[in-house]
């Protein structure tokens, strides 16, 4: 008696990887729909009504990013991309085109399932769903703009807060540099990555036990940042 936790569409041309994904996801209770090509995937996205799509970037017929755009044109469903190592650019492109997160091949199944969980949850409840975010010793009330660490209040500048809030909105998922810069500083600042470095550093110093090895404000090198809360 397996309650389906949702339908997942897998768009992947390698049958071996499809099989492996199907096995893992099915064991977790998801219903899996497979598509062997980008075109097929775009169609199935419409006909099968999945709750989440996993799209491989290296598809033979049409570019994975194209598939994402097509799906995004009419659906807000969460999309995870499978990318190869050292292909930061394509990851960024996919994320900017509308994907929500990525997993780099070769990947462990745990990582994938975690990301699937987060993505599905974000679809139903953006952010943590609660107004107060708990990151270890830190608690941040996003509504009241109050951040406390170990009970003591921590002062965040307006930009720092906006940054934190933006990351919290996509809790558990990666946010690209571009997205962050656009949402926090504005569209004219999308190239100013150095802002992010400075501000992330400041945030980490204020909120993390070890700013150099953060546990919550994580770096996704070459792509963006990810805010991870306790339960993950």
């Amino acid at each position: 008696m397996t309650e389906t936790r949702g339908t997942i569409l897998v768009v992947e041309d390698e049958p071996e990887i499809r099989r492996f994904l199907r096995t893992s996801l099915a064991t977790e209770g998801y219903r899996v729909v497979e598509a062997g090509s980008g075109a097929r995937g775009a169609i199935d996205a419409g006909s099968q009504k999945p709750d989440l799509a996993i799209v491989d970037l290296g598809l033979p017929d049409i570019d994975g990013v194209d598939v994402i755009r097509r799906i995004r044109a009419w659906s807000p469903m969460p999309i995870l991309v499978l990318s190869a190592r050292a292909q930061e650019r394509s990851k960024v492109e996919a994320l900017d085109a509308g994907a929500d997160d990525y997993v780099t091949k070769p990947f462990g199944v745990g990582e994938l399932l975690a990301r699937v969980r987060v993505a599905l949850r974000h679809a139903t409840r953006p952010g943590s769903g609660k107004p107060v975010l708990k990151l270890g010793k830190v608690s941040a009330d996003l509504e009241k703009h109050v951040v406390k660490r170990d009970g003591a209040e921590v002062h965040l500048t307006a930009l720092e807060f906006r940054l934190l809030a933006c990351l919290a909105k996509h809790l558990g998922m990666v946010v690209t540099h571009r997205q962050l810069l656009r949402e926090v500083w504005g569209p004219s600042h999308v190239e100013h990555t150095h802002y992010l470095r400075i501000y992330m550093k400041q945030l980490r110093e204020k909120l993390e036990d070890d700013p150099v090895q953060p546990r919550h404000l994580l770096t996704e090198t070459g792509v963006g940042y990810r805010l991870v809360a306790e339960e993950d």
Binding site: R85, A86, E88, R89, P106, G108, T157, A158, L159, H192, T193, H194, Y195, R197, I198, M200, K201, P211, V212, Q213, P214, L218, T219, T221, G222
Partner: protein, 909 residues
């Protein structure tokens, strides 16, 4: 007698000759005493027989001579179309060489080997002579049958002329005749021949009708027939000798005779050269033709000098080495040279000087006899040669005085000076006469003569001699102021004074001239040396060509250019700017011919001699590297044999230099290839080992799970699966490294630079490597405020990851690994330090070399690319990476990253 082993060098030469011969077509000559013996007829008969046997025989050119029988024989044989040439308003039919080359039959019939091609015709024939056309055919592998009369053979030319009184203009060089593979003598008894002539069956060209009547006298015919028979017999003899030599039967091989023929500007020269040829052939000896340029001979009329040129070239074409020597005395020079060259026989002509001169100067013959020991001297008697000059004495005396030379006008100042000197000396003499003896005055005058001779040459010196004598007589010899002489002894004084003056002026002038000549020679050698030296220091084809052109154009007073073939072997005009001496508009067609055949062509050669420039091949050891084209301002600069030789020497040096450049390039390429090969092999060896191990584990573990999975316990299964996972991670890392390295090497990595924080990158790496660094104590030491750096974060992460993994792999578990970043003036210094055993022995730089592994093979896996990749990445960023041993023990790997001033971040309100 027992067989003597044949000389290995000679045998080798023979083998090489035979190899070359095998590729050439064969030449079969139908040889006869005169026209009309039936050579063409025999050739055609032979051809028809061959054709009947199925051989591909084509008629290239046959002149039927109006004989019906010959015409009949032509039927049934394929004939090449004639080449129509317009020559002086008339239309000629001639042999079409290009059509023959295109048709490429097995055997081609080409009549009349000695025929001269109409050079001024349109279209211009490629070669001057038909035998040269035939040479080209033979080179192309086509066998040629042809006809030759005995009078056409070069070295026999003058003998035949002597017999018949008719000198043939068209000749075939002896070398061509000698190299023929087969010579068939067509013999017809003179009586039969005369009958044929009466019957009108012998072809006689209109112009020669009268001469031919003379020619066809029975006595002539008999003599010619004998000559033809003898020539054929000689050939047989030579063939037999060669055979015997090859078999080691050495009996009568001449013990290396060498002949020297000394020629002068007189008419005996030609006869001597031909005689030399005959003798050299008979003796199977090398022969040298020597012309000594004495100062006297330098002043010859132009006509005589041209004759000298022609003689030397004739000598060369007959197979001699033509040498010009310089010196004051012909005899002495020849004697020296002969000793040097180990000459065994010297051939000279009869002395021609009148007796009175022979009293004053020893004849060449006399000097030779005195100066040589053990060398035979042969004086060749001559016939009556008509002299072309009307008054040889006059011409000679004019030449003697230098009046016939250009620059005569310049002599006048010399005479003026002579007069002035005499006057001056007279004045001087007048001053000192009261105090000195008369004899001293005479000496003073002699001094004046010497000075004038040194400065102005022979003519003015002689004039001065007479003037001085007159002045001496007039002013100093009693009775003073008169030309009478009171004391008879003064007459003797005068005579001796005059003689001495003349001798001195002669000698001094000679010395001067000789010095000039030597100076010229030295200059030429110096120029060759200068060019060679410059070429040795030049790199690259184009600069060499430019340097060569500069030197050649200077030395030979001409314009020159070096033409190179492109990849397909076609000659192209050079690109690039032209220098003052460079020749534009060289004939590419001629140059192409030279490139293809490796033989010189153009002015002064036998091929396309009507071209304006001379084209020389630049021959490397294996191929023709290019063509040197030279357009001389003065044609004589090239036509003189020694000038031509010098030009060929220059060409040779240029070729050597070019070949050197080519070889250097090839060597470098070969080295690079070898290196790449080496690396590839190392990589393959490494990878195959390092992939096999994890693959073995993976296949082993997975097959266990597949086949025996149910029988295994859950823990066991988990362990197997874990090991599969681990090994696959390992393999992934390896493959990743290799791919990375390949991309870095191929330059395919474009840095994706952006502003990053080192602490962020460090954090990211540590998180990624969490598992692998588990076993060690990892410490991070970063200053609070670090400037941002513009780097490719993924690549720098890679570097840190490699260094940290290395540290973990090579140090014992539980020890400390420290990641430190320090700020230096304009860079960041990043270090990964460990507390392990430190660096291995040897040069730390070696660690960063590709495929280097600290301890070869064994437990530590990894292809050995990690550090090489680090170095490549750090270098791409403009930094340095190195390894050192820490004072406290353990190793430290450090690298720098340059810091640029970061853009400012606006303060928040």
């Amino acid at each position: 007698m027992s067989a003597v082993r044949p000389d290995p060098d000679a045998l080798l030469a023979r083998v090489q000759r035979e190899e070359a011969k095998a590729k050439r077509g064969k030449l079969k000559v139908f040889f006869g005493a005169t026209a009309g013996v039936g050579k063409t007829y025999a050739m055609l008969e032979d051809a028809r027989a061959l054709k009947a046997r199925g051989v591909d025989v084509v008629v290239g050119y046959v002149e039927p001579h109006g004989r019906a029988e010959t015409e009949a024989l032509l039927e049934g044989l394929e004939r090449l179309p004639y080449r129509h040439i317009a020559y002086r308003g008339a239309a000629l039919r001639d042999f079409d060489l290009d059509a023959a080359l295109a048709r490429k039959p097995q055997i081609l019939l080409v009549d009349e080997l000695a025929h001269s091609n109409p050079l001024e015709g349109e279209p211009r024939p490629r070669h001057a002579k038909r035998w040269q056309d035939v040479e080209e055919l033979l080179e192309a592998g086509i066998t040629v049958h042809t006809t030759v009369n005995v009078q056409h053979v070069e070295s026999l030319n003058d003998i035949v002329a002597g017999i018949t009184g008719v000198r043939m203009q068209e000749t075939v060089p002896d070398s061509v005749f000698e190299r023929a593979d087969e010579v068939v003598m067509i013999d017809t008894p003179p009586d039969v021949l005369l009958e044929r002539l009466q019957a009108g069956k012998v072809y006689i060209p209109e112009q020669a009708r009268n001469a031919i009547e003379n020619f066809f006298r029975k006595g002539n015919l008999i003599a010619l027939r004998e000559l033809a028979l003898r020539t054929t017999a000689d050939r047989v003899d030579a063939a037999m000798r060669e055979y015997r030599e090859g078999q080691g039967i050495r009996a009568t091989w001449a013990a290396g005779e060498r002949l020297l023929v000394a020629i002068g500007p007189d008419e005996q020269g030609e006869r001597l050269v031909r005689a030399g040829k005959r003798m050299a052939t008979a003796l199977h000896a090398d022969w040298i033709v020597v012309y000594v340029e004495t100062p006297e001979l330098l002043r010859l009329s132009d006509e005589k000098r041209n004759r000298r040129i022609a003689l030397l070239r004739l000598a060369e074409s007959l197979g001699a080495e033509a040498v010009t020597l310089g010196g004051s005395s012909a005899g002495a020079e020849i004697a020296n040279y002969a000793q040097e060259r180990n000459v065994t026989r010297i051939v000279i002509g009869r002395p021609r000087r009148p007796l009175w001169r022979r009293l004053f100067q020893p004849s060449t013959y006399g000097e030779l006899v005195a100066g040589t020991k053990g060398i035979d001297i042969l004086v060749v008697g001559g016939g009556d040669e008509a002299s072309a000059l009307r008054n040889p004495f006059l011409a000679r005396s004019r030449a003697y005085l230098g009046a016939a030379h250009p620059g005569t006008k310049r002599r006048w100042p010399g005479y003026a000076w002579g007069v002035a000197a005499t006057a001056l000396w007279t004045g001087l003499g007048a001053l000192i006469s009261p105090h000195f003896e008369l004899v001293n005055i005479a000496m003073v005058y002699l001094l004046a003569v010497v000075l004038v001779a040194v400065r102005f040459g022979r003519g003015p010196a002689i004039a001065t001699s007479f003037l001085a004598l007159a002045a001496f007589d007039f002013f100093f010899v009693p009775p003073l102021l008169s030309f009478a002489v009171s004391d008879v002894q003064y007459l003797i004084t005068f005579a001796i004074m005059l003689t001495v003056a003349l001798i001195i002026s002669n000698l001094t002038a000679s010395v001067r001239l000789q010095a000039n000549v030597a100076g010229q020679r030295e200059r030429r050698t110096a120029m060759l040396y200068a060019m060679t030296r410059e070429l040795a220091a030049t790199r690259g084809q184009e600069p060499m060509a430019r340097a060569a052109v500069r030197h050649v154009s200077e030395v030979f007073e001409s314009q020159a250019v070096v033409l190179f073939p492109d990849a397909a072997g076609r000659i192209r005009h050079p690109r690039g700017a032209s220098t003052p001496g460079s020749l534009r508009g060289a004939d590419l067609a001629v140059a192409q011919w030279v490139q293809d055949h490796g033989e010189p062509a153009g002015l002064g050669t036998d091929t396309l001699p009507s071209a304006e420039s001379v084209y020389l091949p630049l021959k490397g050891s294996q191929a023709v590297l290019g063509v040197l084209a030279v357009l001389p301002a003065n044609v004589r600069r090239v036509l003189l044999p020694e000038q031509f030789h010098l030009l060929e020497t220059f060409a040779g040096q240029i070729a050597i230099a070019l070949e050197r450049a080519l070889l250097a390039e090839q060597a470098q390429r070969a080295q690079v290839e070898a290196e790449t090969e080496g690396l590839r092999n190392a990589l393959l060896a490494s990878i195959s080992h390092d992939l096999r191990t994890p693959l073995a584990v993976i296949s082993g573990a997975s097959s266990s799970l597949v086949e025996r999975g149910e029988r295994l316990g859950a823990d066991e299964r988990k362990a197997l699966a874990a090991s599969i996972f681990e090994q696959s991670q390992q393999m992934g890392g390896l493959v990743g490294n290799v791919l990375e390295m390949t991309r870095l090497e191929a330059g395919a990595i474009a840095l994706n630079r952006d502003w990053h924080s080192m602490s962020e990158i460090a954090g990211s790496v540590l998180r990624r490597l969490q598992d692998r660094l588990e076993s060690h104590l990892v410490e991070v030491d970063l200053p609070m405020e670090l400037p941002l750096v513009r780097v490719d974060a993924a690549l720098i992460e890679q570097v840190l990851a490699n260094l940290l993994e290395n540290a973990a792999k090579h140090t014992p578990p539980g020890t400390r690994i420290t990641l430190r970043v320090d700020q230096q003036d304009d860079s960041l210094l990043v270090s990964v330090e460990d507390a392990g055993p430190g660096l291995p022995a040897g040069d730390p730089e070696q660690l960063f070399a590709k495929f280097h592994r600290g301890n070869t093979e064994g437990a530590v896996a990894g292809v050995g690319l990690g550090l090489a990749i680090c170095r490549a990445i750090v270098r791409l960023h403009g930094g340095r990476i190195w390894a050192e041993t820490r004072a406290e023990g353990g190793a430290a790997f450090r690298f720098t990253l340059p810091v640029e001033p970061a853009p400012r971040v606006p303060r928040e309100a």
